[in-house]
Symmetry: C2
Subunit: 420 residues, 2 copies
């Protein structure tokens, strides 16, 4: 089904809160094989609500959905006018619903007469609409028809929305179609190169391809919606396309062939070797340790780490020679390697990762501008360091450094099997 979503709330438009309703609804509906065709956010305004519904139903709607979901504006305060807006669209008024009032009394454990007028307004629904019980809160939901399109109004409170969708909508929607999906994370493969490499591949007609860049790399997804009867045929077709796609990605850019994220991929590789890792962080101040311990079960491979922000800390905690720091500077290949080796020795871990760089905004020079970062990885057998030049503000440079270190460890682990 093509689903349209209208989120109602001044607090969404004015940036008081991030709109997570759309995200949550997509998370519930898309796995069932439905598509969200649009998401519209409007204010708490009776007339705008009525006009939005008229537009969705009307001949000018270029995004006509098969199902409409409204969220928000069902609270007890006077700015909550979704009931009135829908009623105006239907040419009716909002009316107290006896059954909804009884539910409210039950929920509040009060006699009807004891319910305050504001709260009592939450048992109103537009005339002709079907009241939908809210087991998680006081705002009653309702179902109505918008010119042949079934429409549901649910509360905007995330927990209540989830409960209501699960109670009233999912049972009707389930089982229509199956979603087939494959995901791959890549790192260090520019979008341009990606576009070029994949341009020769023919995506089967019913498949969708998406490429989503973020802090943790680029997430490639290919998905397909199909009826259960076509499942096997489409799964086979997806497999074929997927294999040809993977073959077009430079192997070192594939974070994990089974779709794991960077922290998960590192964890898998360490687990396969039953190996441990330690960190020595300067400019990231703990960011790498935070990422390494993000995955549950990280205590299996991460035991300890050193935050060596100052030169003295690098000397005292990692055993660096003072004259090495003096000769090469804190941000240098030599220092990064010495940090990694010192970390390896002091921690007793199988691998060590060290980061030292200039996160800015101060501290840069012509020779070593802000964004200059050395990352080293060491094992008992070997060590390697790499120089990066990151762009962006302090926060960006620090996260980018931490993720790049994670990736460098991943590559190191792939090319350097652990030999005790």
């Amino acid at each position: 089904m093509r689903v349209g979503i209208i989120n109602i709330g001044d607090e969404l438009l004015s940036g008081k809160i991030v709109n997570t309703n759309q995200f949550d609804l997509a998370g519930m509906l898309i796995p069932l094989g439905h598509d969200i065709v649009f998401n519209m956010v409007i204010g708490d305004d009776e007339e705008i609500i009525a006009k939005s519904l008229a537009w969705v139903r009307g001949p000018d709607c270029f995004l006509r959905p098969d199902l409409l979901i409204l969220t928000g504006g069902l609270g007890p305060t006077r700015d909550d006018v979704t009931r009135q807006g829908v009623a105006r669209f239907l040419g009716r008024t909002a009316e107290e619903h006896p059954e909804a009032l009884a539910w409210l009394g039950e929920l509040l454990r009060k006699e009807i007469s004891e319910i305050a007028p504001g709260q009592r307004s939450q048992a109103f629904v537009p005339g002709g609409a079907e009241a939908l019980r809210n087991p998680a809160g006081t705002a009653c939901g309702f179902r109505f028809e918008a010119g042949g399109i079934p429409a549901y109004a649910f509360p905007g409170v995330p927990f209540e929305l989830e409960v209501m969708v699960k109670a009233h909508l999912l049972p009707l929607l389930a089982g229509d179609c199956v979603l087939l999906e494959k995901t791959l994370w890549t790192w260090g493969w520019s979008e341009g190169a990606q576009n070029q490499a994949l341009s020769g591949l023919a995506l089967p007609a019913s498949f969708r391809y998406s490429s989503l860049p973020g802090q943790r790399g680029v997430r490639l997804t290919v998905s397909c919606l199909c009826p259960p009867s076509d499942r096997d045929a489409h799964a086979a077709e997806l497999d074929v396309f997927w294999r040809s796609m993977i073959a077009a990605v430079p192997p070192e850019a594939i974070v994990d062939s089974e779709g794991a994220t960077l922290p998960e991929a590192v964890q898998k590789r360490l687990a396969a070797q039953a190996a441990t890792v330690s960190v020595a962080e300067s400019c990231t101040g703990g960011g790498l340790g935070f990422l390494l311990t993000e995955t549950p079960g990280s205590s299996e491979f991460f035991r300890q780490g050193f935050l060596t922000y100052s030169n003295l800390a690098k000397i005292e905690l990692l055993g660096l020679a003072p004259d090495l720091l003096e000769r090469h500077g804190a941000v240098s290949e030599e220092t990064a390697l010495a940090m990694a080796r010192g970390c390896l020795e002091r921690s007793g871990a199988d691998y060590a990762v060290a980061i030292t760089g200039i996160a800015g905004p101060q501290g840069g020079s012509l020779e070593k501008p802000v964004g200059t970062v050395w990352i080293a990885v060491a094992s008992k057998l070997t060590a390697q360091a790499r120089l990066f030049h990151f762009r962006g503000d302090r926060n960006t440079i620090r996260w980018r450094s931490a993720y790049s270190a994670l990736n460098q460890l991943r590559l190191f682990l792939s090319g350097n099997p652990h030999e005790p």
Copy 2:
């Protein structure tokens, strides 16, 4: 101005990522006195983009804006079609823009001939549109007219969007007016208590008040946009209101009376005492160190820290007695205090903060459920520990722990002046 926003991206509709562009744009535009009248999210579809623009411009638009902002769909991959969609709406084609191409070459430090075709597509803009330089990334933005409505297309990557809006839009929108604004961060002050405490205050008519909860606490802002001639009068009025507002906030909930964030407030207090701090982190794995080194100049007060994820690391790096861990467990008041004291001694810092807890999803028990976290702060004179019970997933519990530790350090620094 009435601003309309169209966010373009399949990944927004399909729930792959939360739409923060709307939130970020509101945060920049609303303090300048502008209103967001609608926010529409549509997929990466050339025809839908063109039709959406036709609708905004057309007679049926019940939400006609004075300014339109488009975000997303400017990447180099084949699903990025915002340029083509806008061009179709304008009855033109997307064309390579020589100046934009030169910017791209500069940014990539490459000759034009070396730029890969995919990436080169990011220097295309719709015919007749004005190219807008992107100093933070490869996606060129552009400005066009949608039936008399000025419209801007910006990248959807949050950091690039912010930079582009600040460079190309805000200077035009602020006009001649001056923005007066005061900000206060609070911590541990519930919204209910806030509403009650502030309900008696009368906000002057031309002022805007906003309360924005987030990971770093609640941000209270009062702002006012006025012509330069009214500046002094409004500033005085704002001062009066601000003082009465501050007086209504419990003192310990005020992160910093001058508007600093939690990391900045800690830095100020440490700087005032010329004191240093060190950390010993277990479940946060570096998150607290990362926050402490977030502010430029943090090397003044942060020299080193210990990531002691395992019991052995707590013993070896912090000098904990093995039988203490055995008797009380790793997540206990005794362990947190011993970690803080050991960290203080081993680092030579003036203050030490220790975190030990159960971030989950495994590792919880009836007695110590997931979310149980002990945080201790120590100075040479005294030490204190506090027990927290955080709700949420692993990520939420870990960030919440790190921020709470930062806040506990702030309170400790306020009540315990540094006496060497």
